[in-house]
Each structure stands twice: as structure tokens, then as C-alpha cells.
Symmetry: C2
Subunit: 492 residues, 2 copies
């Protein structure tokens, strides 16, 4: 069972995520090894507090004195990062606690995940010390990434340092690293990420409970291999999901996946049936992989907090329209017919023949300029049945249209499209979502990819949701819809 | 009903796809318009026969005489391309027939798809002329792309001119254009592509019948909005799919999609249930969109013609392994456990800790060099239960590993990986499939994308199947498996 977090618990969590004085245990003067790498990662990333390296051999590293023992550090410390060999970990943890640390992350491996007697015994020792008054993240983990305080994972010297509102919990350090890295260019901005590995002390239920009340966190993502206390987790999940979206990617639901989970983070995977039912009852947002998780997180972050019942799709090419409809229906997205007057208004500005205003709106020519698209989207936005509009832009088409050797970035009106989309959202309150497929990916067409990335960066700056393809857009939006609709029902 | 193709029918089809003398009706001396564009596309693409432009105004274009009337062309012609206004089409078709043409493609729109009385009447006229001895592709279409003879679609001046073994049938010209264009960099090489638009005469059933016996075609792809004669199509499909894989993307299965189909190519979409059942009975390979179609076509083309029961997955990072297993199970792919001896052999060459040889094989470090991967894959290939191996290469990781300012192309051992994969396939008869995800797509990381494309090009040259992600690989391979396994059963 997880009890409600006390004021003291909350204060400790705040200190763990935003420590002022951090000891890193296991930093060698030679600068090799996990501890040293992590220290350098913190410095490069821009950790805002003080760092106290520890190693029995002493010496200095990057102008910092290395303390032979934790007790040699002057004054109290807030948080410890432990990167010494497994057998030395329980003592280090004990010493950190005595120095006033309210928490520590244990990066070292060599515990329960080995499935040996010694490994299990060492993990029990860690648990025992944790109970005496220091909260533990790990062992066998990558710890905390928190751009606000400047904490980062060992491979995280170049992570994005702009804070955001997405939290991510994962046992797997690799998964945390991948998600943060991909998030940088995908436009995901994080409040807190925790890789908690074996989860000897702090794990999914309690961390989730903290994130539920964390004002910096609006959307929570989780990659789960297995949970410690199922009942506690389910209760916390249910409460949390009533407050903010919790997006869950459950790994290891297959037989072979379960096998891989056991050797990866010493967890039990659990059956697919139980998970499906638990997640559904709690109104968690269930995703099938980390890509879907990223797309859903982006949609929850950049869209207003509500569901979007009526959606238009505009783009060039009739088959695109057919595809759009089929995909929409499969995902429970409604593409309402537009009124006769609206159709006529739209058709009056589009090239003929080939255009259609039935929804999907076929603009006939993929090179229709932003001024015309603006008219089309404004007309559609006037209809009450329309809540959100999706615009498909095949940027590669502009390569064929440009005159002479004009660079793709000049030939492609992505700035105009961004400004127009922003204007429509601001004036009508109805978001415009961009879909930017890249169907031309030859070696000689790298300039198209460059423009696509520049366009995506600009859209993100303007808080316009960008997707790579229509199914991704529909899938993410349908998840947003489902979450808010069910939450309404559950609130009763 | 479709009857068996006669020797004469076959000869005519051969002439239609490989004409020596082609009339293009509706070419203006000023070089504007659909007809002129198509003529220029044929010339740029490299059409191997003679072209005879036709326009009542006469004149010359690009040093070619423009004939005022079709009958003014000296000698017989094989094939006509019609791009005049709809009301002038039936007469042009008639004149082409009189000039000996066995077939014509009508690019012009303005027929049945308008849903007007005049449009329908004109389409009936076209049908009537077609019955007198000239086969018609279209109207409202993009016609034929056939790299062997040099025929191409109107927007196809820069299509790939290397012939291959994939045929593609689509009513939609846009879909045909997109698929050929994407195929260029995806590695799809075509025998014949036909966009037949409204399909007034030749359409899916008869074209499929021709492709079934076409020795240049090994794999058939179809995008279907609606069919003319359902029974004829189903019978032909069933027979064809016993000979070669027929991959079908059926558009317009939703209510809104059906609506879009009607305005796009004047077809009736048909219900989802009926289609699912028909395609399944015929052992057609059903795909949900054109991306899946491309991935399946590539797999059918580059893999040996059989099913692959036991598959290994190798890559770096434990969570990757979990994901792999879950996805595999969902798609009916079997990842067999490796024997104890094989596991030991594999683990002996991999970095520790963190590696695992359970299958998925976790190579622990994403930078493991090709020589080591070679040992791993050879060891796994020795097991009888293994039929195919998937290797995941996160090329972006090499950016972190390189020393100094070394360019990504030098830092990334993709040549070694390609040679190693080829060697394993040649020596063991078991294919190696590469998965090249790009999880780092920031504007500043365009060099990673460049390497990825260069790697994909090289893999394709060596007939090594490349995918962008593991679900795509599993999906495509499971389709190959299912097709060959069911065909065996159906052969009884």
C-alpha cells in the first residue's frame, strides 16, 4: 500500500529532484569509469548545484577536490550518486544518509538482476539502509534527469536543457536515454525523467504519486517492465489519471518478452489480459511502443485539454483522401461532411478540376499557396461541427515547382504555412495540426529532409503539433479524445 | 467473366506495354498542357520507340513534326496517348484504331467521374469504340509506366529507369505516381505500373490476368478503390495468387472513404466484411496502406520464396529486446531460444556485463564492430531452428563514438556490416535483414540521415533487405510467411 505523501515526503522529493549539494561516490582522478563520466555529464549539461567527488585515493578532477571518504565532505549534502562496485554500495549509502542526504541514485549494477545469491543479498542490504531514512533510486539504473535543476543521466551531457511539462518513468536506463534523446528533436520537453532500474526502494507507485501532485508535470509517460506492488500501483494510477494523462507503454507482454524482462531488470512481466484490463479501468493511455508514446505525449502537451469530435483533413491528391477516411474510421475519428455553403466557399478558391470539399478536402494541387490554404481552413473552421483541422503538406513537391537552382528552404512556403496555422488557431480557437510526410528519401534528396526538419522546428516553436504521417496524427488525437471523454464519464 | 487470354490478346498486351510507334494526341507546339508534358516526360525518361505528336494546328515541337490529324501519320502506329478534351476523345480513339493501334491510354478527365449525363455518355462512347478493336486504359488516368520500353506517366520524367519484377495496378494516378517515386529510393523496381482511372475498358481483372502470366513480373501490388466485375476479379485473383504474391491495398472501406472514392474515380467501394473475406479466401496479401504495401513488396522481392519460421533478433539495449519479443508475438513471429552451447559461443565474443544470448541477442554495446557481429550471426545461423536473422543497427550511435571531426560516413562501419551480412547469407543460405532506425533527427544531425541513406543504398545493392524499424520488418516477414504457408496448404 502507498500512503498519502506527507509534507516531509514531498519536501524530500523536492530535494532529490533539485539538490544543491551532490556527492558523487566513485569518481577517479584519471577521469575513467561510470562515476567520472556521470560527473562530467552533470558539469557539461549545466548542473546548478555543488558537486563533491569521492574516491578513497583522493586527488583532484577538473579542479575539484576528490574526498577520500563521504564523511570528509564539509557540511551536509542533499543527494548522492553512487557508482562504486556493488559490494561497496550499502556502506556508501549508509554514509550518505549520515551526511544528511535524503536520497541517492545507485548507478552500479550487480544486484538482484544477476539472479545470484550475492546479488540478492546486496539488494536486501540496500533496502535495509533505505528504510533507515534515505530514499533510493536504483540500483542498476541511470537515475534522474531534471532540466530545471540540471541533474542528468550518465549519457546525458547533451540532453535538451529546456524544462517542460512531461515526466517519464522507466526502469530501463536505455529506454530513458532513447526517449529523452528522441524527445529533443521531437519537441518533447521534460519536467522529470527517472530511470529506477531494479527499483529496490522508490519505484513506479510512489514516483507516480509524487508526479500526480507535481505542478511542473502535466503529462506522465511510463515504460513498465514489471511492477513491485500491483495494488498500490493500480490505486495510484487510477487517482493520478483523474488528474492528468498517464501514458503507459507496457513491455514484456509476450512470452519471449517476459523472458527478456527477467534478465533485463529482474521484474515479472505479468499477463497481457490483466494489464489490458487494469490500464483500461484506470483510464490510462495505453500505447504499443515508445514511438506511439512520444506522439501521444506531444499531442497531450500541445493540444488544448479537451476532446476533438469533428476533424477536417486537407491535402492534395484524391487517394490521400480515401486513405484518410479509412484510417480515421478505424481509429474512431469522425470526419464530418461540410455544409453545402462551406463546400462552395472552399471550392471557389481551389484549382479545378480535381478539387473536392467533401472532407477530406482535396486541394487538388499539392503546391496550393498558404494564402489559399488560409481561406480553406478559415471557411471550414466556421462550421460548428469542426473542432480541429489537419493539414497535410508534401514538402517534397516544392522541389519540382522551384525555378532554377533555388534552394529548397526558399522554395518551400513553410513559414507562411506556420503563420497561417497559428493565425487560424488564435482567431478561431480551433487547432491546426500539420502532417509532414517525407515520401522522397533518396540520397540526392537530403535537402527535402532538411526543409522538413526546419519546418517541424518552426511548427513546434509556434506550438503547432507536427506529425510524420496521418495515421500517427489520428492515433494520437484519438487517444487525447478518449482520455478526456472517459475522464468526464468517470467524474460522473 | 474473364476468359482465358488468347495468343492474340497476349500479343496485343505486349504491344501496349512495349510499343515501337506511339501517337500523342493533344500536343501543342507551344509546349503547354498535359499532352506536351507527357511527350516531354517520355523523351526525358528515355522512351525507346518513335513519337508522333498530333494537333489540328500542326507545327513542330522539339524538332518533331506535329501531325494535324491522326490519319496524317505515315504508316501504322502501335499505341496512342490521348490528352484532348473529353468530347474529342471518342473520335481520336476511333482514328487511332483505324491507324492500327491495338491500345490507347486516355489521360483526359471529364467522363463518368463527373457524375453528369454528358460525362456518362462520353464514357459509354469510349466503351463502344473500345469494343471495335482497341483496348483502352483510362479515361481520367496516368496510364502506363514500363521502364523496359520507356513508357512513363505524365509526371514521370525522372522515375527510375531500371526495370524490376514488381507490377503495380491502381486506378489512382496520384497513388501510382507516389508509389513509383517512393519505390525509387525504397528499392522497389518495377516491371509495369498501370493507372487505369475510371477503367472504362481494361481494368483490374484483365490486367491481373495478363500480369499473372507475365514472366517479367514476380510480385503484383494493387491499390483498389472499387472493382468492375467482382466475380471475374475474384476468380482471377485466386488463380493469380497461386502463381505469385498479389499484395492488395483496398481503399475506401470506411463510410467517408467510400464517399471519397466515388468522387475520385467513380467507383463503388464495397463493404469491409466482404473484402476481408474475399482477399483472405484468395490468399491475397492484404495491407492497410501504401507504406505497408511497399515494405511487403520489398520483402517478397528480396527474400527467397519461402516462409521463415525461426527468427533471431540482434541489437544493443535490453529494452529493445523486450520490444522485439512483444512485437514478434503480436505478429505471429517465432523467436526460438538458442541452445546452451550457442548461447555460450555468442556470449564469449560479446562485451560483459549487459549482453544476453537468449534471443533477442543483446549485444550490450551498440558500437560492437562487424567482426564481432559476424561471429554472433554465424553462431546463431548454425542452429537448425533459425531461418532468418534480423540485425538492428542504431547508426546514430556512431556519432558519439567517433574521434575528433571524423565524418559520419567514415565513422560508421556500414560497409563492413553489409559485407558481413552478405557473407552469412551466401555461406549459410539464411538471409540477414537489417533494421536501421533513425532515432536522432534534429536539424544538426542531418549527417546521420545521410549515412543511413548511403547504408540503405548499399544494402539494397547487395540484395539485403533494409527496414526502418522492427515492427515494419516483422510485419513484412510475417506476410511472406503467411503467403507461402497458405499457398502450400491450398495446393494441397
Amino acid at each position: 500500500m502507498v500512503n498519502t505523501l506527507s509534507t516531509q515526503d514531498l519536501a524530500n522529493f523536492e530535494k532529490i529532484f533539485h539538490p544543491q549539494r551532490v556527492a558523487i561516490v566513485g569518481v577517479s582522478a584519471e577521469g575513467f569509469g561510470f562515476g567520472s563520466n556521470t560527473m562530467m555529464a552533470l558539469q557539461t549539461f549545466g548542473f546548478k548545484g555543488e558537486i563533491f567527488p569521492v574516491n578513497p585515493k583522493g586527488g583532484t578532477i577538473r579542479d575539484l577536490k576528490i574526498y577520500p571518504r563521504i564523511e570528509d565532505i564539509p557540511g551536509e549534502i542533499d543527494f548522492g550518486i553512487i557508482a562504486v562496485q556493488a559490494p561497496l554500495v550499502p556502506k556508501a549509502l549508509e554514509d550518505l544518509r549520515k551526511k544528511g542526504a535524503v536520497g541517492a541514485e545507485i548507478l552500479s549494477a550487480g544486484f538482484k538482476e544477476l539472479a545470484t545469491e550475492q546479488g540478492r543479498a546486496l539488494e536486501d542490504d540496500v533496502k535495509r539502509v533505505a528504510k533507515t531514512g534515505i530514499r533510493v533510486i536504483g540500483p542498476n539504473c541511470f537515475g534522474i534527469y531534471c532540466p530545471k535543476s540540471g541533474l542528468t543521466l550518465p549519457p546525458g551531457s547533451e540532453y535538451c536543457n529546456e524544462p517542460g511539462t512531461i515526466a517519464f518513468l522507466a526502469q530501463s536506463g536505455g529506454m530513458a536515454n532513447d526517449f529523452i534523446k528522441a524527445g529533443k528533436w521531437l519537441g518533447l520537453r521534460f519536467s522529470k525523467v527517472v530511470s529506477f532500474g531494479n527499483g529496490a526502494d522508490l519505484r513506479e507507485a510512489e514516483l507516480l504519486q509524487y508526479l500526480a501532485q507535481d505542478p511542473d508535470t502535466k503529462v506522465i509517460c511510463m515504460y513498465i517492465e514489471g511492477v513491485g506492488d500491483g495494488t498500490a500501483f493500480f490505486n495510484t494510477l487510477k487517482k493520478t489519471a483523474m488528474k492528468k494523462p498517464v501514458i503507459i507503454y507496457k513491455g514484456g507482454l509476450s512470452e519471449a518478452g517476459n523472458r527478456a524482462v527477467a534478465s533485463h531488470t529482474a521484474s515479472m512481466g505479468g499477463s497481457r489480459m490483466i494489464w489490458e484490463s487494469v490500464l483500461s479501468q484506470a483510464n490510462a493511455v495505453k500505447v504499443a511502443n515508445s514511438w506511439e508514446m512520444s506522439q501521444a505525449a506531444l499531442a497531450f502537451t500541445l493540444l488544448p485539454e479537451r476532446s476533438f469530435k469533428g476533424i477536417t483533413v486537407a491535402g492534395g491528391g484524391g487517394a490521400l483522401g480515401v486513405t484518410a477516411c479509412d484510417t480515421a474510421e478505424a481509429l474512431g475519428i469522425h470526419l464530418p461532411m461540410l455544409k453545402k455553403e462551406t463546400q462552395e466557399k472552399i471550392l471557389s478558391v481551389l484549382p479545378k478540376p480535381g478539387s473536392s470539399a467533401l472532407n477530406p478536402i482535396d486541394v487538388a494541387n499539392p503546391g496550393v499557396p498558404p494564402e489559399i490554404l488560409r481561406e480553406v481552413l478559415f471557411s471550414a473552421a466556421e462550421e460548428e461541427s469542426v473542432d480541429l483541422q489537419i493539414l497535410i503538406q508534401l514538402l517534397y513537391q516544392y522541389k519540382a515547382f522551384r525555378r532554377g537552382g533555388m534552394p529548397m528552404k526558399e522554395a518551400t512556403p513553410y513559414v507562411g504555412i506556420a503563420e497561417m496555422s497559428e493565425e487560424i488557431r488564435e482567431k478561431t480557437g480551433k487547432p491546426v495540426v500539420l502532417v509532414l510526410p517525407n515520401n522522397v528519401q533518396g540520397e540526392e534528396d537530403i535537402d527535402i529532409e532538411e526543409v522538413r526538419r526546419a519546418a517541424r522546428t518552426l511548427f513546434l516553436e509556434k506550438k503547432i503539433l507536427p506529425f510524420e504521417n496521418l495515421p500517427d496524427a489520428f492515433t494520437a488525437i484519438s487517444r487525447v479524445n478518449r482520455y478526456y471523454e472517459r475522464r468526464e464519464v468517470m467524474k460522473g
